[in-house]
Symmetry: C2
Subunit: 217 residues, 2 copies
């Protein structure tokens, strides 16, 4: 809330031209995202983040009042990116299985593009939102309920097999997120790097095919 909207740049003028010239604030957010995702809240020090940006810790604290405030802002950025990216697929006019596949693929690709997001969300889901002012579950709950309603409607018309829609969503959540959040572990379980283009294509097709088999009568 109360977006500072990139304080230093005059009025958001030519931002696309000098895109590599990010403000220090943006660099901090970027570095913080990567490190929080990698090491969690407690496992990441402000020194690490500052060093990654190339400044000292007090300079970082000039841009953000505290570690917790920085973490919250990273998380808010994450959530707004998430909603923005999935809005198209969710709001699409498709029906039945086509829409599910659309959302599934959009989610998968978003997570593949932003594995750090997945790891941060997963950590927060495990911890139960200790470092977060906002409650992750209450933010996601409206979408969750809408999705459950969608499945139930399609089940009643016979488009999908009848089953517990919320359990289905939880399973989908687990299938989508686990691959990215547990990538360091899967790395040792598979013969190929989980984030390679080939492996990602495999995974996406499997998920789509798997859910189609479970949903269509």
């Amino acid at each position: 809330m109360a977006q500072h909207t990139s304080a230093p740049s005059p009025a958001g003028a030519q931002r696309d031209l000098d895109s590599p010239a990010r403000t220090t604030r943006e660099q901090i957010l970027e570095e913080a995202l990567a490190l929080f995702a990698q090491g969690g809240y407690g496992g990441t020090s402000l020194n690490d983040i500052a060093a990654g940006v190339g400044i000292r810790r007090p300079s970082l604290l000039h841009h953000f009042p505290s570690k917790e405030a920085l973490y919250q802002e990273v998380f808010e950025l994450l959530l707004s990116d998430w909603f923005e990216r999935l809005a198209g697929a969710i709001g699409s006019a498709e029906r039945g299985w086509d829409k599910v596949e659309l959302v599934l693929r959009a989610g998968f690709r978003f997570f593949a593009d932003n594995p750090s997001y997945v790891r941060m969300v997963r950590r927060e889901a495990i911890d139960g939102g200790q470092h977060l002012g906002i409650d992750l579950a209450s933010v996601l709950r409206p979408s969750f309920d809408l999705a459950a309603d969608y499945f139930e409607r399609e089940m009643q018309t016979g488009t999908f097999r009848t089953q517990d829609s919320r359990q289905l969503l939880i399973t989908g959540y687990g299938a989508l997120l686990s691959y990215f959040s547990d990538e360091p572990f899967l790395e040792g379980l598979l013969d190929m790097a989980p984030m390679s283009a080939d492996a990602l294509a495999n995974r996406e097709e499997h998920i789509v095919q798997f859910f189609r088999a479970a949903l269509l009568p």
Copy 2:
């Protein structure tokens, strides 16, 4: 290694009679499991663990040489419990879907009985085994490969639908673990407590039914 083999008890005499009278060492392991699962390695201090047992930190370090050694022993205990509990289901003589259902249910119930185990494993999977001498993936890999072989054989005989067996296992892993590891998050997403008997029964039936639908032709 170099097992001390329960130093205090004289010669392992009547251990079953005074089972509630656990040794301090056992109490430490128990408390450490709960706290490591809840807060992770970095988020748990030896003071917290010692306080939970009712002793001071130096006394705890009398029983374990270091925090890392304690963590490793907790994890080894976890893994041996895991293998012991699932050995029956995995070694069963059943074939085809019946065996999959057996293992699925055995795993589910083991995790339901030991949610702390799931949370510790999940944290380790995310972190990639930073605090562990052993590598989780290499320990689990033989079972993983055996399971993949099993699925592939059953697919070739037409018992199961043909699909990527390793992707299938990863999806099963995600479906089973996520429910327990992310319980604090799911608590806010559902209307019932995820670990209540009703909710657990729901979840178990969903998983079994879901995988049956995806596997059977």
